[in-house]
């Protein structure tokens, strides 16, 4: 409760004491938006942590070895993530649903366990130190990026591209028969999502003094967490993933009393939200909560029918 009280009574102190949390929410929102693009076009891709790793390692390695400016490092990470996105997308985008999800899991784990943990330049399992990180100063950049990303998402989902993606998501065959180049639009979504994830990865690396190749960071655990942001928040509206990232990231602060049992609270929360609102927090039906089958029905007063 203290969390909310401080947020409303003393926003300045809240900002100062929770800067890192706010930055993490911003980063998570950007990554969730990257997941949103693929989900919005009907593809269950879990590749985001792989592209984040590419963005993060590229940018930190350039900084370590060539001392190039941050903007250039981020740009290089984004370009590389995009290129790898094309190379990975070409073979895997024929796959659908769970198969695509598993193939992209194969990609991120092959990248993490096979490449990152075996190359001397990436520090193998030990990770990389990033002495020029700027945890507190980076927050403005994160918030500005988030605003730009949200604006782009808004325009994308309102435009031709978004309409094509929505059509493909709802019925691929129907979209094809309407003359939509399904393969091309899927590829655009996949590569855009890779680019965004690469950017978020680079940005996140800039906020931490250490690049950690662990499962929580660039592995399946992270992929599932990002999927949770997007699905819980609602994958039909561009604001959904941001709301999801905000809610899930702040849970440990909101339920401070739970202490060590926070994961149990999170689990119960995930199940409760998805059962009561399968479409996500932001989505069809305004704020109505769907009544699960086992919930007691309200006694209905039957009025005599006219006539």
């Amino acid at each position: 409760m203290d969390f909310f009280i401080q947020l409303f009574t003393d926003p300045v102190a809240f900002w100062n004491s929770h800067t890192l949390l706010i930055a993490q929410i911003g980063i998570n929102s950007i990554i969730a938006s990257s997941m949103f693009i693929v989900l919005y076009s009907g593809q269950l891709s879990l590749a985001a942590p792989g592209f984040m790793a590419i963005g993060a390692y590229t940018s930190v390695l350039m900084d370590l070895h060539w001392h190039t400016p941050l903007a250039l490092n981020l740009a290089a990470g984004v370009v590389l993530a995009g290129v790898v996105g094309v190379l990975v997308g070409l073979p895997v985008l024929r796959l659908r649903g769970v198969f695509l999800a598993i193939a992209t899991i194969g990609f991120i784990e092959a990248l993490r366990l096979g490449v990152i943990l075996n190359l001397p330049i990436t520090g193998e399992g030990l990770g990389l130190k990033n002495p020029t990180a700027d945890p507190l100063g980076g927050i403005n950049m994160v918030l500005v990026s988030l605003a730009v990303v949200l604006f782009i998402m808004w325009r994308l989902t309102k435009g031709r591209l978004g309409a094509a993606w929505a059509a493909i998501r709802q019925d691929e065959l129907a979209a094809l028969s309407q003359g939509i180049d399904v393969a091309r639009y899927k590829m655009i979504a996949f590569v855009l999502s890779a680019i965004l994830a690469g950017f978020a990865g680079g940005l996140e690396a800039h906020l931490n003094f250490f690049v950690d190749p662990g499962d929580q960071q660039y592995g399946v655990t992270r992929a599932v967490q990002i999927l949770t942001f997007a699905v819980l928040g609602g994958s039909g509206h561009f604001l959904g993933p941001v709301v999801g990232a905000l809610v899930v990231t702040t849970l440990p602060w909101v339920f401070q009393q739970a202490h060590d049992y926070i994961n149990i609270v999170t689990g119960v929360f995930l199940i409760a939200v998805i059962v009561f609102r399968p479409q996500g927090i932001v989505g069809r039906g305004g704020l109505a909560i769907v009544r699960p089958a086992w919930w007691p029905r309200r006694a209905r007063v039957s009025a005599p029918s006219p006539g």
């Binding site: 649903g97 490449v115 943990l117 399946v220 999927l227 059962v275």
Partner: protein, 304 residues
């Protein structure tokens, strides 16, 4: 090398047993049950706890552990899957709800310490433990330069027998016909008078009991029981196994399990220990790209 090959068969049996339950749920429901690896861990943890903290004999503890997992299967169905099915939610929603349950199960074991809420389940917190020596008779034989430990060798007949029994049940019994009917078309199965919900509950119970047993065998053979054995050892490898064999195919999962064991051991011998994990996932990726229906997808058209 021979010893490594033997290890491939041990670990392959465990992968296969784990993946059979995974693929059974996918075959019947078209849903990935992401809580399956947590159930795997739960079985091992409960059995350990029953032996060490509650003083039950090993065999009784095994039964308690498997029964606890079967009950967990019912929990998965009633809490995570059935409410969503009633709402006709997209399959992706079930991913999130089963992840939620997995979080709860792992956290409950992780937080089990003396004096905590879950002390009756587990008292070793996040630590890795092993059954104390002497809990299970474990004679060891030396054949040539091979070392055969009973606890490892026993895995092979146990898993093969169970998988044969499951295959028989699904192929030749009334219950099996029901399961196959639900897998083929739930709507038609309901119209034929099948209790679809009950069939699905049964699927989850069988699947979770097998997952729990795989966990117990893993804990006994590798002397490693911790809240993270599911996540670290079988969560993603289980996916690799069911993809290698063809999603939803039980014989495919069995062969996929042994195949993955073999691939990993070969990678270990040829490329060294660091490459082991990477090679398995590269194989998974290539398999999906080159032959998404799995090794046996073409022949085994009928599901489960």
């Amino acid at each position: 090398m021979d010893q490594q090959l033997l290890n491939a068969i041990f670990i392959g049996s465990i992968y296969a047993l784990f993946a059979v339950g995974y693929t059974l749920v996918f075959g019947v429901l078209d849903i990935l049950n992401l809580a399956h690896s947590a159930v795997f861990m739960f079985g091992a943890a409960i059995t350990y706890s029953m032996v060490v903290n509650h003083g039950l004999p090993f065999w009784v503890a095994c039964i308690v552990g498997i029964a606890a997992c079967a009950v967990m299967g019912l929990v998965i169905e009633h809490v995570c899957l059935r409410p969503l099915r009633r709402r006709r939610a997209p399959p992706i929603a079930a991913l999130i709800s089963t992840v939620g349950l997995a979080l709860i199960i792992v956290a409950a074991i992780e937080q089990g310490q003396t004096g905590s809420l879950f002390a009756w389940l587990w008292v070793d917190g996040p630590n890795s433990v092993a059954f104390p020596a002497g809990t299970i008779p474990n004679p060891t034989w030396h054949v040539g330069d091979l070392t055969l430990e009973a606890s490892k060798v026993a895995i092979i007949p146990i898993s093969i027998a169970l998988m044969l029994v499951l295959g028989y049940v699904i192929r030749y019994t009334q219950v099996g016909r029901g399961l196959r009917a639900v897998a083929e078309n739930p709507r038609a199965a309901r119209l034929m008078g099948l209790d679809v919900d009950r069939m699905i509950s049964l699927t989850l119970v069988i699947s979770s009991a097998l997952g729990g047993l795989a966990g117990i065998l893993f804990g006994v053979a590798l002397s490693d029981i911790s809240p993270y054995i599911g996540r670290d050892n079988v969560e993603v490898r289980g996916l690799a196994v069911i993809v290698l064999g063809g999603m939803g195919s039980i014989p495919g999962a069995v062969i996929g399990g042994y195949l993955l064991g073999l691939i990993e051991v070969l990678a270990l011998v040829v490329l060294g220990s660091n490459a082991r994990g990477g090679v398995a996932f590269a194989a998974l990726f290539l398999m999906l790209v080159l032959r998404p229906q799995g090794l046996f997808g073409a022949q085994l058209r009928e599901r489960i």
